[in-house]
């Protein structure tokens, strides 16, 4: 497959918002029209730059939620109340609004689908976004590589992409999703109801763990705990790829 490799300069491009759809009470998916967008790989991110009337600028990084090959580029953004860019993207931006964007960025936390080993995805909160790009890529390209997502959120209402994830899992083509809710669970909840820990990862991760790649994305304490547990379970450290999110992970 053609890979969107980053060659030469990553220039700022003007992105025009084509739609903003709520995902949860705190997160939206912003679909963009970016003329000249060079394409991306699942797991990559972009830099967003907003400019105020007086010339003041603020930059932040956001993961790409859409799979490669989709003409519209989609970002899912969670509002960080004390943040500077996410309140604008989640609360102000609407169709026709413009900002600057450059990317794609990051060539390590990526899954192209050409690795035949079963893949484990572990996402905490909005850390599921780059993992969703991988799951969508797998579905779109009809890859049969087993893929399992362990997704941790505070409550059922905080789960991003719930319906789509359940649909993907219902296809029975080797994708499945396991949820854990860390704060509140609805009546009749049958998933996990605690923070991701070693025993949970032992139950969820692949028995072929010695070769399986794992992608872990979320807030720093989540990523530290999950990555440490995976290494203790026998995953080679070099197969555990991590990306941090949230106020202490470079987002906002």
């Amino acid at each position: 497959m053609a890979r969107a490799t980053v060659l030469g300069r990553l220039s700022w491009r003007v992105a025009t918002v084509t739609s903003v759809a709520p995902e949860t009470s705190r997160a939206v998916t912003v679909v963009l029209d970016v003329p000249g967008w060079p394409g991306h790989r699942p797991g990559q991110h972009v830099d967003v730059r907003l400019t105020a009337e007086d010339g003041y600028q603020a930059e932040r990084s956001y993961s790409i939620a859409s799979p490669p090959g989709d003409p519209p580029l989609a970002l899912t953004v969670e509002r960080i109340d004390e943040g500077e860019v996410s309140p604008w993207l989640t609360g102000v931006a609407g169709p026709g609004d413009v900002f600057e964007l450059r990317g794609p960025i990051g060539g390590y936390f990526v899954w192209d689908g050409d690795d035949p080993d079963p893949v484990l995805l572990v996402g905490g909160g909005s850390g599921v976004v780059p993992l969703m790009a991988m799951a969508r890529h797998r579905a779109r390209r009809a890859f049969r590589t087993p893929m399992r997502l362990l997704y941790s959120a505070r409550s059922e209402e905080d789960l991003l992409y719930r319906a789509e994830l359940d649909d993907l899992a219902a296809r029975g083509d080797g994708f499945d999703v396991v949820y854990t809710l860390t704060e509140t669970t609805p009546r009749g909840w049958t998933g996990y109801d605690r923070r991701v820990d070693g025993p949970m990862l032992a139950e969820v991760s692949w028995p072929e763990r010695h070769t399986s790649p794992a992608f872990v994305c979320g807030p720093t304490p989540f990523v530290e705990a999950v990555a440490n547990s995976l290494v203790l379970l026998g995953h080679p450290a070099g197969r555990v790829k991590t990306e941090r999110f949230g106020p202490t992970g470079g987002g906002s």
Binding site: G8, R9, L10, E84, V98, Y108, G238, K241
Partner: protein
């Protein structure tokens, strides 16, 4: 090697941004924002290297080891307190960080350096490349302490490289040594789209910046 810093992009309707913090003055490079906490960013799991298994080596251009200190020897070297601002390519900056470390000038003293570049290497397989001119003359340290205590593993302990005038990915966590190079070559992030040099004041985040 131009930077976009200062380019005026299209105004994003209704965006005002944070109150402009004049007290920071000119200490914030373009595109950066201030944090008070100490974020953690790394590409893989944190290695937990015990100090009795740790050493720091300097390798010559042919790969031969020309200097080595174990933990005890290293901690006996003259240390400095370094107060510096740190700028991460993911956009956060933290001012007046206080480190304890050994200057590269001490580590390279008396060695036949004779090379223009260095590849810093670390536990976990991480590497980053730098010009030797950027790690000498009081510009770089191997830090073992932060904010009055020993450096924690998630922040690179037992020891990390510290080269604060470049983006923070150049300050390799879990550092174990450096190899001198006659010719420059990209390290880990430098081979994955990040800038070869990484000057935050010229906003050299990515290739071509």
């Amino acid at each position: 090697m131009r930077s976009d810093a200062g380019d005026r992009g299209p105004v994003s309707r209704g965006f005002t941004g944070r109150p402009r913090d004049r007290s920071v003055g000119d200490r914030l490079p373009p595109g950066q924002y201030l944090v008070q906490d100490f974020p953690v960013l790394s590409a893989g799991p944190t290695p937990y290297t015990l100090v009795d298994k740790w050493d720091f080596s300097v390798l010559a251009v042919d790969g031969s080891r020309i200097a080595r200190w174990d933990w005890e020897q290293f901690r006996a070297l003259p240390e400095e307190t370094i107060t510096c601002d740190v700028h991460c390519v993911t956009k956060w900056s933290k001012l007046d960080m206080q480190w304890r470390g050994v200057s590269l000038d001490v580590l390279l003293e008396g060695l036949d350096v004779g090379a223009a570049f260095a590849m810093v290497f670390a536990d976990g397989g991480y590497t980053t490349n730098l010009p030797v001119a950027d790690i000498t003359d009081g510009q770089a340290w191997v830090a073992t302490g932060y904010d009055g205590h020993d450096l924690e593993p998630e922040h690179g302990g037992p020891a990390r490289f510290l080269v604060p005038h470049l983006y923070f990915w150049k300050s390799a966590k879990w550092v174990r040594g450096l190899q001198l190079l006659e010719r420059d070559k990209p390290g880990f992030w430098e081979g994955l789209g990040y800038n070869n040099y990484g000057d935050p004041w010229r906003e050299q985040r990515y290739w071509g910046d």
